[in-house]
């Protein structure tokens, strides 16, 4: 019969139309919120979703996975007296590995001793050139530069970030990437333990610590 294929196709469309609203009804009957709730968004971005599963941006937002990456930022530790302990040692690996070469670092010497100061004097990232590849954070040996989750940076001006704009506290980093933060903290503690053990071994005790993963 001519037109059977068309009807079959329309059946698919009709089913999808039905599914779109059926789930709404089911959720409503169960007393759950399908829209504007984390549970609903998680369901709508899972493989079990049916029908239309649009997330109404910006009222609703998809949950960003931890690894999501956008423009980098510099991490600092907050000291109890409010001072910022910048983790960056201006070693320049990020500037060297950056594919579009959008990182500029100024390193300066101590005027008294003449030796290089680890903290960068100035740090620029040209965010309009940055391609968000994440190499800088991947290869940073000090976990000092990390990729941000904040993607709403549209502006009328050129986005050139200086150090003031780039610095964000470690607590912020922990809030956007809890698992990475926990892993890096564990690594750091393990390394410190090894160091302490080595120091102790050098001091006479002979108990080599096994480095934790």
């Amino acid at each position: 019969m001519y037109g059977k294929g068309i009807l079959k196709g329309l059946g698919v469309t009709l089913k999808r139309y039905w599914n779109t609203y059926w789930d709404d009804i089911v959720w409503w009957v169960q007393g759950k919120k399908r829209y504007n709730s984390p549970e609903g968004i998680a369901h709508r971005s899972s493989s079990k979703t049916r029908g239309i599963f649009t997330v109404q941006f910006p009222e609703e937002r998809l949950l960003l996975p931890e690894e999501a990456r956008y423009i980098p930022f510099l991490v600092y530790n907050e000291k109890p007296d409010g001072e910022k302990e910048i983790l960056c040692t201006s070693c320049g690996i990020c500037a060297k590995v950056c594919p579009p070469q959008c990182i500029w670092i100024v390193r300066s010497n101590d005027p008294v001793t003449g030796r290089p100061v680890p903290e960068p004097t100035e740090f620029f990232i040209d965010a309009d050139i940055c391609m968000n590849c994440g190499f800088c954070s991947e290869y940073c040996p000090f976990d000092a530069i990390k990729m941000d989750h904040d993607f709403e940076i549209a502006s009328y001006e050129r986005n050139v970030y200086n150090m003031e704009k780039l610095l964000k506290p470690a607590s912020y980093y922990q809030s956007i990437r809890p698992e990475n933060f926990a892993r890096e903290e564990a690594d750091r503690k393990a390394k410190e333990a090894v160091k302490a053990a080595k120091a102790a071994a050098a001091g006479g005790a002979a108990a080599p610590a096994t480095p934790a993963a």
Binding site: G5, K48, P65, R69, V97, C98, Q101, W104, R107
Partner: protein, 586 residues
């Protein structure tokens, strides 16, 4: 056995005969870690004919040039393969680097070299004698110089290689636009009237399509008209222009005009370090950054001669096949858009793509620009919860959704009458024009690099090479659905077999050491053969980095495909090539 230097052992006995067959004309490439044969320039056509007809290498996939500036010579490199599978044959022509650099064109043997020879002329200044239409292709007509030559410097030239010294330790920050002599405005030369200005190249372009009047049998004379399709046409999927000559509604001549999205990926790649190229490959075919990464990674791994971690091999297959599925879904969606079934099928397809991109985002950090592969493995493991998501998607959802798409479209009478019997390309022409990918397989040639010359661990999976016999539009559409099903089969096996273990065989290093040599790595990207030709001289940056994109080479056949069809079919035929301009223009 006196086998020629071949690090990978790809030379079979039949290729050994090449030196014996042409004594004094063909010599094996004796440079360490180089493979293939060097052919005398004057005998190139004779040797190439023998390679095609006697040795059976019927598919000439890649043609490119290398500028050996210090040795003061230029080299043209050809990669030929057999459509029945097996390793390839590399042959090269070396010419002194004195203008004009001339090499005979192979266009009469393999018409598929057309655009690639034009590209080599445009970017490297190698003149292919005998090429009927040797114009610039990626750069504009009137451009001075050949940008891929090593002595050519671009407008914002800073240094030969990255990293640039101005960035650290005293980062002298500047904005790129400060170096632009025009700032944010443009100045024209005096006495310049844009209304009257005709670009130099256009006369040549339209000359190739000469407008003329024909007398019909009934005594009526018709004017042939020239129509520009694009560059801003929604059906061209980007900025692609086709100049067509029409006789009534029939296309009688067609020339593709490319290069609107050209950013000289090859030159950028030669400036970058090996690692820095990975995120740039994402930007080639931006629907399949995973496949692009894959191709580049295996090429550099070939050069470095390093193994890939076992678990990473499986992860690579999983992400590459997911990428193929979403590419074909988007293809079907946009194809239906092109045919006039606006948005319903394409949005259905995009929904599934959305779920796949969620997975990419969770593993790599980005939805499209994944930057996920590293030399020796991948950047990070797939977490357990994401693995569960992939399992749910592959085992529960995608199969059913593919069936649903199939049910919705395949039997639709309107679609059938639109597509069935509209010829695209036959097997013989497809091979001649170096067409690869689904278009070649829909023409009845079961040539899939995953089977013909397996890379990664594709030889471990049980799957069929999707093939359709007719080469019409319907087959080109159906083969995509077949391929989605085969990809799901591969995925099911890969997910079941994936072992635990490390995800990279190397220690993370921001500068990799790549020994001198050359490598050509190729993968079956969703659009066809994606090849990378990399020459290393042992320094941190590649000496030559060339991408052989599937879209670009497939466009070569567009003229052949379209001539004789109606203009209304052009959009469907172009859509079937599934081209992405990011990859095509690079």
């Amino acid at each position: 056995m006196t086998a020629p230097a071949s690090p990978t052992g790809t030379m079979s006995t039949s290729t050994l005969d090449l030196v014996a067959r042409f004594p004094g004309i063909v010599t094996a490439d004796a440079r360490p870690a180089f493979s293939g044969f060097i052919v005398e320039k004057d005998s190139l056509i004779e040797v190439a004919t023998a390679i095609r007809d006697e040795f059976g290498f019927d598919l000439l996939t890649a043609v490119t040039g290398v500028d050996y500036f210090p040795e003061n010579k230029m080299e043209v490199v050809y990669h030929a393969y057999k459509t029945i599978g097996g390793p390839g044959l590399v042959f090269k022509v070396q010419v002194p680097r004195v203008d004009p650099v001339e090499v005979p064109s192979l266009i009469h043997l393999w018409p598929g070299v057309d655009l690639q020879e034009r590209e080599a002329w445009d970017l490297l200044g190698i003149k292919f004698t005998g090429h009927p239409d040797l114009r610039r292709i990626l750069m504009w007509e009137g451009f001075e110089g050949h940008p891929l030559r090593k002595d050519w410097k671009e407008g914002f030239y800073e240094e030969d290689t990255k990293p640039f010294k101005s960035r650290w330790p005293d980062g002298q920050f500047y904005m790129a636009e400060d170096k632009n002599p025009f700032k944010d405005n443009l100045t024209f030369p005096t006495n310049f009237d844009p209304e009257k200005w005709i670009p130099e190249g256009d006369a040549l372009l339209y000359g190739a399509l000469a407008r003329y009047t024909v007398k019909q049998e009934d005594g009526m004379s018709t004017d042939r008209i020239v129509i520009n399709m694009g560059p801003h046409h929604p059906s061209t999927h980007g900025v692609f222009r086709a100049v067509m000559t029409l006789d009534g509604e029939t296309i009688v001549g067609l020339k593709p005009v490319l290069g609107y999205l050209h950013r000289n990926h090859d030159k950028i790649g030669e400036r970058n370090t090996y690692l820095q190229n990975i995120p740039y490959t994402d930007r080639l075919d931006y629907f399949n950054s995973m496949s692009n990464n894959f191709g580049y990674a295996i090429t550099v791994e070939k050069l470095m001669k390093i193994p890939v971690a076992e678990r990473a091999e499986y992860i690579r297959v999983i992400v590459a096949e997911l990428s193929r599925i979403q590419n074909h879904l988007v293809f079907i969606g946009t194809l239906l858009n092109d045919l006039g079934a606006m948005y319903t099928p394409s949005l259905y397809a995009f929904e599934e793509r959305e779920l796949i991109l969620d997975i990419f985002e969770a593993v790599s950090g980005a939805r499209m620009m994944c930057n996920y592969f590293r030399f020796g493995g991948v950047v990070r493991d797939i977490p357990d919860d994401v693995m569960q998501k992939i399992k749910n998607l592959v085992f529960d959802r995608l199969q059913a959704k593919t069936d649903e798409l199939d049910r919705m479209l395949t039997e639709n009478e309107v679609l059938i009458s639109r597509m069935k019997g509209v010829p695209m390309i036959n097997a013989e022409d497809a091979i001649k024009f170096s067409v690869t990918g689904p278009v070649l397989r829909a023409a009845g040639v079961p040539y899939d690099i995953r089977r013909a010359d397996p890379y990664g661990i594709y030889d471990r999976f049980d799957f069929d090479v999707a093939v359709r016999p007719n080469g019409d539009l319907m087959d080109n559409y159906l083969i995509r659905i077949d391929e989605i099903r085969q990809s799901l089969r591969i995925l099911e096996q890969a997910i079941k077999q994936i072992p635990q273990g490390p995800i990279n065989s190397q220690k993370p290093a921001y500068q990799v050491r790549v020994p001198a040599g050359e490598a050509y790595g190729r993968i079956e990207s969703p659009k066809g053969e994606l090849g990378y030709y990399v020459v290393s001289n042992g320094k941190p940056n590649p000496w030559r980095y060339h991408v052989r994109p599937a879209s670009f080479v497939n466009v070569t056949a567009l003229e052949k495909i379209c001539i004789g069809t109606k203009i209304a079919d052009f959009i469907a035929l172009l859509g079937m090539l599934d081209m992405v301009m990011g990859e095509c223009d690079r």
